[in-house]
Structure formats: C-alpha cells, structure tokens
Symmetry: C2
Subunit: 259 residues, 2 copies
C-alpha cells in the first residue's frame, strides 16, 4: 500500500500542528501515513531548507502552523499539497475580533507563565505517588485511587504536566479492601477522590507482564480486588472512570470534566 | 479590559482544539481570553446543550474540531463566531488525497496502539529516575544528564508520555564533577546522553525555593556546578540544551531533533 509522506512544519515545537495532522489523518483510516516533523522553522534559511526537503518527495502532504507570511510564502514555493492551518483560521478570528493578528513565532499564550506551576505540579505528583506522604493529601487538587496497576501514576503525571494540576495517587491494597472501608486519610479528603478501574482481563494482562504466573496477576485475584474496590467507591460515592479502552489523554480529559 | 469568552468544542478529549485555540489567540497579545473546554460532544443532545451554553454568552468565540457534519450544524445554530478547524482543513485534504474523509469521532490515528508503549515508557522513566538502576541505562532511548534541579525529571516524563520514548535521567553530583570525568556508566552509553543546563540565577532560584539559604542553593555553588558540568559535556561532546527560557514542550521537541 502507498505510504503518504506528511510533513508537519512549525515555527515552534510542532505540538499543535502534529495534533491537527493526526486528527485529520485519522479520518482516512484506509490510508497509511509517515509523519516527518519539521519544528523550529523560524527563519527564511530554515524555511528554504524545509521547502527543498519537501519538494524532494513529490505528492507529499504538508501541514503548517507557520505564522510569518514570508515563511509561509517560501513553503508554498515547494508546490506541495499545503494545509496552512493558521492561514485558514486566523483571518476569520481577525474579523471576529476586529483586530489584526501579530505573528508571534508560535509562542503559546501564557506558556511561560504556567511553566513553573506545571513543574511544581509534577514534583508534587511524584512526591505523593503511590501513597507516599499521605499527610499532604489535603494539598492535592485531585487524589486518584484504585487497585495496583490500574494506571494511577501515568494519569497523575499527565494531569500535572498538561494542566498543572497537583494530583496525588493512593493505591488500595488487599488489606484496605478487606477492611471494607476506605482508609481514614482518604475519607478525610473525600470530595477530591477520583477512582480508576479496568476490566479484570486487562488488569491481569498488565500485572502478568510484570509478575508472570503470580497470584497477584491471576484473573481471579484481579476480579476480587476490582469488585471489592468498586463496592467501596459506590459506598462512598466516589466518581469512577473505567479506563479499559481509553488513552491517557482521554482519561485526563474525563477526570477534568467530572462533576 | 474586556475578557473574551472562548469555547473549545471537541467530540473527543479537546487536546487538539485547545492547542489550536491557544496558538491562534497568542497572536492577539493585547486581548484577554477565558477558555472554556467542552470535550466529548459526541451526540445531538450534547451538541444542543453546548450550543445553548454558547448562545448564553453573546460574542463568544468558538473553536471546534467536531467531525460529524450534523453536530457542526447544531453548533452553527448558536450564531456564535465559529472557527471550524476541520471544516477549513478536511476538504482540502480530501481533494489532495482524492478520497472522502470518514468522520471518526475524533479518535487520533494509532492512539490506542501506542498507549501501552507510552505507559511502558513512563514506567521505565520512573524506574530510572534520578540515577536509579544504572545497570539498565543501556535500555534507554535517551539519558538526560545535568546537575540537581535542572529539569531532568519532568522532561524525561514528558518525552515518555508524549512520544513513548524510554528516557532515563542521571544527576551529576558534586563528587562526579570534582572527578573531572563522567561516571563510567554514562561513558558506556555516551551516544544516547543529552545534557540539560540552565542559567545559574535561574537554578539558584529553583533550589532556593526548596532549600532556602543553603549552600546548595547559593548562586556561587550553582555557578561552580554548572561550569564544571559544561566542561564535562564539552570534553565528551555531549549535546547540551540551555532550558532557561524554554517550556517543557520546547525542551522535548528540541531533544527529539538534536543530531
């Protein structure tokens, strides 16, 4: 099958243009694509080099979020299929706001300002990973709970990195589950608890990869733990997300938007 | 100053539409904006509720990555300033590919497939955080080195979460620096080393927040450590990134694109 070359050209990190390209290309599921990132294209020299690289692959698709019209013009000279994301959207926004845009070199609004709060959030989430420092749980924005290997740590770190949220995570051990009630330190912070769960099959596969043929990884043990945990969540009205078929982005977006 | 309300409407997580909105709005630095995320708008009922919420704020701006034309039509009825990102781009891509798009409910290409490799990468990066398990450094895609508090851990986690890279990080202690050579375990993995550095003032401020008035946080100590570290990086030809004015996205994008 033909593999379409797709360039993602940006004057900054390329996070935005890659997100757009992936979302658009997902709407052509029968085709195959190879993405080539060309970030930090912020001078005429770099734009000319990018245009030459693109022109060498006839029929290539090019997504661009260059904001400088002069650089965009250089890219157009490559005669590729150019999808100029800001070229479509910015004029419409200018009309709505009654004001001309200032090409900004791709710097995202307020990024510099919230960098420190996001790094603080990452450090907080690492410090309160896996039940560490429970005396600080009252400082958390959210507290993820669930049984071992249900995805708490990556989700907490993603929420910290992406949104600057201080997210602790606390594992429910078999002892906690037998006790029939959430640990006191969690009950003291009930409104900020969010529970993650998974299908027993998926959890067993994840545990199996780490501790093959252990009781811990057995399907029966996973079923028992998940069922006991779900009873606790219901009893204390903790909102639950089943992450079985979700990406970490999706889990994070749903957690942000839970009641 | 007038604060413009901006809705980001998506049928999935909203990561793409928020990235586009922030990049476009950054080009209007004199204005102020409040972003309201409306993710998971994937049914006519939810689209009608979103349209009603938008219509309640006259003059609101609306960025949308809805892919279902029926849902887009409902949003248009809100009579807001609608910037339909895919509405602009997808028809142009259809023409270039000679094929009609299949609205996909926003699922990103290959997201489900690489979820596990990204989670594995996060677990790897946590397991090899801060010099832990040096015997596994040969399994890393990249090894970040630098003095304490230079930003290694958040950068490693971001690369793991965003790109599925297995990124270890290894701190250079004052002992390492006095020794005048990189530790043997790093020399054995030299091609995958990437160094982070910062201005001494910035590093002192970061350390000061954690250990006020310590020798560790003094400007002189920071200057000495950074200078000694940079001599080592030069001696062993380790590529160096100065992160003083960079976001974690920018550091990560530059690391991916280093020679």
């Amino acid at each position: 099958m033909k593999n379409h070359s797709v360039f993602c050209v940006s004057d900054h990190t390329g996070v935005t243009v890659e997100a757009v390209a992936k979302s658009v290309l997902a709407q052509f599921p029968a085709l195959e694509f190879s993405l080539i990132a060309l970030p930090f294209i912020d001078s005429p020299e770099k734009a000319q080099a990018a245009a030459a690289q693109i022109a060498a692959i006839p029929g290539a698709l090019v997504f661009s979020t260059l904001s400088d019209p002069a650089l965009r013009a250089i890219l157009r000279d490559s005669r590729a299929n150019l999808f100029d994301v800001f070229g479509f959207v910015v004029p419409a926004v200018e009309t709505a706001l009654g004001q001309a845009a200032t090409p900004s070199g791709g710097r995202t609004h307020g990024m510099a300002n919230n960098y420190e709060s996001r790094m603080d959030a990452v450090n907080f989430s690492l410090a309160l990973d896996d039940g560490l420092q429970p005396q600080r749980l009252d400082q958390a924005d959210l507290i993820l709970v669930g049984v071992s290997r249900v995805g708490k740590t990556p989700t907490a770190l993603y929420l910290a990195l992406q949104y600057g949220l201080r997210v602790a995570n606390y594992p429910l051990t078999p002892d906690d589950l037998e006790h029939g009630s959430l640990p006191d330190v969690l009950l003291a912070n009930l409104p900020r608890l969010r529970a993650l769960t998974l299908s027993a099959e998926r959890l067993a596969a994840i545990r199996q990869a780490r501790y093959p043929d252990s009781r811990y990884a057995s399907l029966q043990q996973c079923r028992d733990e998940l069922a006991a945990a779900e009873r606790l969540f219901t009893r204390h009205a903790v909102p639950v997300i089943d992450t079985t078929r979700m990406s970490v982005e999706e889990i994070a977006a749903r957690l942000r938007n839970l009641p």
